[in-house]
């Protein structure tokens, strides 16, 4: 028995216990099934003017804000999201070692199957294991099919068109275990989106998209191409991490960020993670109005500088260094190292420019500045040390 089966068995055998674990809180967990479904039905009957969009050619129509299910400790958030009119719930096989899918299975068993649209994701692996993994997810979800099955975040674009994976995806669809097929991508989004279109297999792309993406114009262009080809686009990471700083003290105006990406009509819906009722209420309000107020526009336009890793190569710093250091290239090396986890590429870039370790040593003050607020000298010091590491030690 392979890993998947074993895990699946364990998860399934634990369902009795975990169902009780995850069903949560007093009042609602003890309510009769019909009561919960009835509550949902009553909510749906209420007159709501939700903004909806079609998901490519899938025939699925969704409100512009859906729910990324990030945590399993409060199923009431899921019930409240559905009651607020959200229809689409996004999870993944690997989230919380499967507890996320198990929680959703426990909650959704009380709802009519056609009242929600659920997606899950399976990472790249051989075709047989891929399908076994999907079966485990379906057991956890207590469903015979998911509405969207994603290939989960392949690290290499070649996986998008891998024949074994495409074959497994087709089998998942032909067997009825997945109504529609998709791929999710967190990086090099335009490249992945275009690769997905070329296969002719994928119907949906789940992509990072947000107001802080330096390459947003290219992402938007690729999304438009995909939509023209009949694919549907769902957005994630719309809050750009939710904070401007690493200590999570400067929050993004999430409502504004959400509205901002929805100005693009090619984006069908978004899946922000919601961990509080306050956040959920705020996001749900966007389903009725995506108009950006002046205040919201300003909150995005005047975002604190200095965050992020991405040098756009604007050239502002070029030529500002008395030692003639190629600062844009060094900033790109920094991004390779810390953003992509690719220090070997960074080292190659640095040695190609004949850089030494800590080339700023002895310089009294830095005269170069960055419109994005990068601490240039600090970053140079950090990343330039790579040149002293033998290449074979780096990935």
């Amino acid at each position: 028995m392979g890993t998947v089966d074993r895990r699946g068995f364990l998860k399934t055998s634990a369902i009795g216990a975990s169902a009780a674990v995850l069903s949560s809180s007093g009042v609602f967990s003890s309510a009769p099934v019909a009561g919960i479904a009835g509550r949902w039905m009553r909510q749906q009957k209420k007159e709501k003017k939700l903004i909806t969009r079609w998901l490519g050619k899938t025939g699925i129509e969704l409100p512009v804000v859906s729910m990324g299910v990030m945590r399993a400790d409060n199923p009431e958030l899921v019930r409240t999201a559905l009651a607020a009119g959200m229809r689409h719930l996004d999870t993944a096989h690997g989230y919380m070692e499967g507890n996320n899918e198990s929680m959703l299975g426990e909650v959704l068993k009380d709802y009519p199957r056609d009242s929600f649209v659920i997606s899950t994701k399976v990472p790249p692996m051989d075709g047989k294991s891929f399908l076994e993994t999907l079966d485990v997810s379906l057991r956890r979800l207590r469903m015979d099919h998911v509405d969207i099955l994603y290939l989960h975040g392949p690290s290499d674009v070649s996986a998008v068109s891998d024949p074994g994976i495409l074959d497994a995806l087709r089998k998942a669809k032909s067997s009825g275990k997945a109504r529609h097929l998709g791929v999710s991508t967190h990086r090099n989004e335009p490249e992945f989106i275009r690769a997905a279109v070329l296969t002719g297999v994928y119907e949906v792309v789940l992509t990072s998209v947000n107001f802080r993406q330096d390459h947003y114009a290219e992402v938007r262009k690729a999304m438009a191409e995909a939509v023209a080809a009949g694919l549907g686009i769902i957005g994630m990471k719309t809050m750009a991490g939710g904070f401007y700083d690493r200590d999570r003290t400067k929050p993004v105006n999430c409502k504004a960020a959400l509205k901002w990406v929805l100005q693009d009509p090619n984006l069908t819906t978004t899946i922000p993670g919601m961990t509080t009722f306050e956040m959920l209420k705020e996001n749900a309000s966007v389903n009725e109005d995506i108009t950006l107020t002046d205040e919201e526009k300003a909150s995005l336009a005047f975002a604190p500088p200095g965050g992020g890793l991405y040098c756009q190569g604007c050239g502002h710093c070029d030529g500002a260094c008395p030692r003639h250091l190629p600062i844009p290239e060094i900033m790109r090396a920094y991004m390779y190292t810390y953003g992509y986890g690719a220090p070997r590429s960074a080292r190659s870039l640095l040695t190609g420019r004949s850089l030494t370790a800590d080339p700023c040593a002895g310089c009294p003050s830095c005269t170069a500045t960055c419109p994005k607020g990068f601490e240039i000298r600090e970053r140079i010091r950090d990343v330039s040390r790579l040149v002293e590491v033998p290449e074979e030690f780096l990935s």
Binding site: A17, S30, E76, R187, E378
Partner: protein, 313 residues
């Protein structure tokens, strides 16, 4: 050979340790109940991956070090929950023996023992086969995960059967020894009354317990009776009162939290009736009780244990 490996990991770790974690120190958050961070210097990577007789250690094909900036690069959307639980960094090493058995070790470091327990408890399932490793671990075919102080260690192998299991176990034990962490649970875990408590279902919710931002840092236990009890440690009684008040307000419940010893009843529109008590530096509470008397009775047991264990400090 050992020296070369040490050099390799030390260099890479030093170079890849971002400037914002100087010396690898991260302040403990309020949600940690005042616990100090226990981990050592971030550059001490070599010590995290021990030499194990019969096994060769090497970096993984991809990156071997991740921070909060790029964790999503390896675990995608799952990164959100790790970040919410004070994730500091992740290091990966791979072992192989002469027979071709492979073992991959992922060491997730969190900012406190509470946060490491938080992510571990959210990924744990009571149906797993638990093993005596670290504070607690569980083992399945090809997978061995365990909690070890501020670390959450995930070990996996492509090799099925006894060889894979034995390899994971041996390397897991060696990794635990190098991490030098106490095997104890975070102290608030010991407060919960034992009778009727569901084993291996306790959890720590670092952010937004019950869906409210104010309720950060909650230890939670479930009972056969269907109750859920929770303990939220804070530094002072004043902070506890402020916490209770913030929660009641957010839940839209008009309650008086100024009397420290009384039982506070919060009619939470999302979670039902939640009973609270402010106990010096702890906010304790219970959900799922049918009435006030039941809540009083159950919380008094919790209160007694807190008093008892606190008196032993």
């Amino acid at each position: 050979m050992r020296a070369i490996r040490t050099l390799r990991f030390s260099i890479v770790a030093v170079l890849l340790t971002p400037a914002y974690t100087p010396n690898g120190t991260v302040r403990a958050g309020a949600a940690d109940g005042g616990e100090a961070s226990l981990y050592r210097d971030a550059s001490d990577t070599a010590a995290l991956f021990p030499e194990v007789s019969g096994w060769k250690l090497s970096p993984p094909p991809g990156a071997s070090y991740y921070t909060s900036d790029n964790l999503w690069n390896i675990i995608d959307g799952a990164a959100e929950v790790f970040l919410a639980n004070g994730f500091v960094d992740l290091r990966i090493g791979e072992y192989a023996d002469s027979s071709g058995t492979d073992v991959r070790v992922e060491i997730y470091r969190h900012s406190s023992r509470a946060n490491a327990f938080g992510i571990y408890s959210q990924e744990r399932n009571p149906g797993y086969h638990f093993v005596d490793l670290g504070t607690q671990g569980y083992m399945e075919e090809k997978v061995l995960n365990f909690l070890c102080g501020v670390y959450y260690v995930k070990i996996s192998s492509h090799t099925s059967g006894t060889r894979g299991l034995a390899g994971m176990r041996a390397i897991g034990q060696a990794v635990e020894a190098t991490l030098h962490q106490e095997r104890t649970w975070p102290k608030p875990m010991l407060y919960f009354p034992v009778a009727g408590k569901r084993e291996n279902e306790e959890s720590y919710v670092s952010e937004s317990f019950l869906g409210y931002r104010a309720l950060a840092g909650a230890y939670v236990a479930r009972y056969d009776s269907g109750y859920r009890m929770f303990v939220i440690p804070r530094a002072t009684p004043q902070e506890v009162r402020a916490l209770a008040s913030a929660y009641a307000n957010a839940a839209g419940s008009m309650v008086d939290t100024s009397h420290a010893t009384s039982l506070v009843e919060v009619r939470d529109p999302h979670n039902g009736v939640v009973y609270l008590r402010m106990l010096n530096a702890h906010l304790i509470g219970i959900l799922g009780c049918p009435d006030r008397n039941c809540a009083m009775s159950e919380l008094s047991l919790l209160e007694e244990r807190i008093a008892l264990l606190s008196s032993r400090e």
